[in-house]
Amino acid sequence: MTQASIKQSWKEKLAAGQALATAGHRLSAEEAFERLDFPTRRDETWRNTSVKPILETAFGTAQLPRLDAEAVRALRILPEAHLLVFANGVFQPELSQVHPQQGLGLMSLAQAKQSLPELFAQHFESTGLAAGDVFAAMNTAFSQDGVFLHVAKGVALERPIELLNLTVASDQPVLAQTRSLMVLEAGASARVVEGFYHLGGASSLTNPATELLVAANARLDYHRLQDIGSQNFQVNTLAARQGRDSHLACHTLTLTGQVVKNSSRVDVAGQNCHTALNGLYLTQGADHVDNHTHLRHLAPNCQSKQLFKGICADNSSASFMGMVFVDPIAQKTDAYQSNRNIVLSDTAKVHSKPQLEIYADDVKCSHGSTTGRLDPNAQFYLQARGIDKAQARVLLLQSFAAEVIGLVELEEFHHHAMDRVERHLARS
């Protein structure tokens, strides 16, 4: 199939209902979607990830999913949290649960567009997410629903928010996308956990996009768990903007996926911000995970830290591409970026490209990248102390992974993630 016919067929599947975007955004995003080619390995940000298997999949028309409430409950990490559930991009109100609180606006984005039109118009696509990327443009042009979170000025949410982003296919592969908009007003704080799962049937492609707007003094902890299964694809775009003195932490744990591409762009637009982007990916089989971060320091006195770690087994491959940009006015920036990988087999592949682009002189910016195998000396040390080889291996890998998970402050997610990683590693 040609690119044009693939686009046409995708568009038919995605644009059946009422689009979220206002006419202006929709038109320009649709124009970008038509104009831009699907990325190839000649595109710098996609040089390690092939979209070919995605383009070769013939997606069917999305079915109305029938979900088993019990199965959904089993996926929950935070039983006490607010919950929004989406299946194949469609909001599931009967499975969702929001505990009302003063200053909390949590609902589906389509509903927010109706009931809070001003907030919606003010913030939707305000990060310019759709520009220059065909998948993000597709999301902006055709998305029909997703998460809307608004936390009013000075409000601290005690209860975390849990989002379940599910796909269910019948015998035909399914194509789905959601659009999330999270706005934290000045001094607000929230913790969000989003899980991506595939519940069965043929394969799926999910194309979620998220905008995070963190105003002055606000704090957002955003956690992602991607366990979509080894026959499925995800192209995940995130764009964030931070006001002065704000905190933003994004943790991404990727367990499975035939192709998972995470593109995250953070604009640090106010002074004295803290930004943390962390990721852990454990690839097995023929899985492929690609994390791409673009952190732009546009104001002075900010601190950013990035830690991405990977363990790659079998025929799997992983890629990390990170960019720290420091604007001439962003003096006293303290930025650190680190990518560490363990390669467990001779057929696994790792690509790493940490980058710095710096235009201010009074800064402390550095990055590091290491890739190697499991340290045989460390393994021997444990064996000498009576731990068998397989167990020693798992122990060492766990401690390698624990550095990333250790940065998660939300306790329930921390424990859950550690538990999932342990089980995942023991299996390999």
């Binding site: 690509h351 990055h367 195998r373």
Partner: protein, 482 residues
């Protein structure tokens, strides 16, 4: 109000090029323009064997199919390839036996640059093959090398005397189809050096060549080929300075190095071409392809470079580590000032088992310049137990310059170990304060700190060059403060 720092930075930024002067010597220049006829004419003027003409023509035809690459982090006005003259040779082509017979104007040029040609002859430590523009003028110490069986001559001479070697190795590391500028070079290369060190021979002296762009608008297309047979060792030095010009000059050189079993080649270069004036006017475009191949086991290729010149530098000396246990090294100091742009780094392609590579890159940006490190480390599936260590440090002086790092790291097996580290910082005030407390003035303190910053690389240069390089750094950094 201007702070003391601003004044110092301005001082430094306004420093004019010190080696800027023009020697008046008659030149043989081909008319501007590039076509198949130009290529044939160059080959005819140089009386080249048939196979070289064919190589040039193939390259030219391939070049026509290519597009100029745009991916580097540099900006420059479009180059009109038809507005360049592709061949220039000093008029007097006689061969000299002693320096007395050499055109005195030429010797004067070297004197101004502080190249002690006569001294070197006396010292007998360095053989100098001085390339003035495109044709070899003086070759010394040839006899001493001949005894050992080492061939060190201009490329054209080698094409006549050792066509079988040229035929065997030319294009074997950088094929004419490699990239846009390599194809252009392959089509129109003027001259360069050829070094061949036979099996088991340790070259008795450092070999050095001084390139110097002289004629206006000629462009230089040097071609250097270094071959070290089994167990051979050679250290090759190259240094460049060029007179002040107002029009941009294109330099697209190709350097190829072949190291067979147990051989070692050390390639050092100090590059100080005219960088343009403080508004970025004029200056050399330096688009170079340099690559070595460690073909045999236990072979070693080492690149050391000090880059202070050129308006635009676009250069990635690379090593293909094909032999088992082979070693590749890259040590670089790049200083950019005014509106200079440098996009430089290296590629280490590990193919052989237990191959090792080390990359140490130091970038210093001053004024409104941009300095990028771009490098690739690739561990192929076959490169079991390969190891790489990379360190890229950048120093920024002033807040109008930029320092960038773009490393590509690709690993395809489980036994490879790759480490990469990069830092960007300015000269810390407490460091300067510490020096000042001990009686150094601010300028001396900065010079000391910068020299310390670059020491790791400068130490790798051969003695003869280390002095020159340090002087060059001191001149470039004079009056600067972080």
């Amino acid at each position: 109000m201007k702070t003391e720092d601003d004044i110092m930075i301005e001082d430094l930024s306004s420093k004019e090029y010190e080696a800027g002067f023009v020697t008046e010597i008659e030149m043989d220049i081909l008319p501007k323009g590039l076509s198949e006829d130009t290529v044939r004419e160059i080959s005819r003027l140089k009386k080249e064997p048939e196979f070289l003409l064919e190589f040039r023509l193939k390259a030219y035809r391939h070049w026509l199919t290519l597009k100029e690459p745009k991916w580097a982090h540099v900006h420059y006005p479009a180059i009109d390839y038809q507005d360049i003259s592709y061949f220039a040779a000093p008029k007097k082509q006689a061969k000299y036996n002693s320096l007395d017979e050499v055109d005195p104007a030429l010797l004067e040029t070297y004197k101004k640059l502080g190249i002690p040609l006569e001294e070197q002859k006396l010292l007998a430590g360095v053989a100098v093959d001085a390339v003035f523009d495109s044709v070899s003028v003086v070759t010394t110490f040839k006899e001493a090398l001949k005894e050992k069986g080492v061939i060190f001559s201009s490329f054209s001479e080698a094409a006549h005397e050792h066509p079988e070697l040229i035929r065997k190795y030319l294009g074997s590391v950088v094929p004419y189809s490699d990239n846009y500028f390599a194809a252009l070079n392959s089509a129109v290369f003027s001259d360069g050096s050829f070094v061949f060190v036979p099996k088991g021979v340790r070259c008795p002296m450092e070999l050095s060549t001084y390139f110097r762009i002289n004629a206006s608008n000629t462009g230089q297309f040097e071609r250097t080929l270094i071959v070290a047979e089994e167990g051979a060792y050679v250290s090759y030095l190259e240094g460049c300075t060029a007179p002040q010009r107002d029009e941009n000059q294109l330099h697209a050189a190709v350097v190829e190095i072949v190291a067979l079993d147990n051989a070692e080649v050390k390639y050092s270069t100090v590059q100080n071409w005219y960088p343009g004036d403080k508004d970025g006017k004029g200056g050399i475009y330096n688009f170079v392809t340099k690559r070595g191949i460690c073909k045999g086991h236990h072979s070693k290729i080492s690149w050391t470079q000090v880059e202070t010149g050129s308006a635009i530098t676009w250069k990635y000396p690379s090593v293909i580590l094909r032999g088992d246990y082979s070693v590749g090294e890259f040590y670089s100091v790049a200083v950019t000032n005014h509106r200079q742009q440098a996009d430089t780094g290296t590629k280490m392609i590990h193919i052989g088992k237990h191959s090792r590579s080390t990359i140490v890159s130091k970038g210093i940006s001053i004024g409104q310049s941009n300095n990028s490190y771009r490098g690739q480390v690739k561990i192929a599936k076959s490169a079991e137990h390969a190891r790489n260590f990379s360190q890229c440090d950048s120093l920024l002086v002033g807040n109008r310059c930029g320092a960038h790092t773009f490393p590509y790291i690709d690993i395809e097996n489980s036994t490879g170990t790759v480490e990469h580290e990069a830092t960007t910082s300015k000269i810390a005030e407490d460091q300067i304060f510490y020096c000042q407390q001990r009686g150094l003035d601010q300028e001396q303190a900065v010079s000391l700190i910068v020299n310390g910053f670059a020491k790791e690389v400068l130490n790798k240069l051969p003695m003869e060059f280390a002095v020159e390089a340090q002087k060059l750094l001191a001149i470039t950094m004079e009056g600067s403060v972080g």
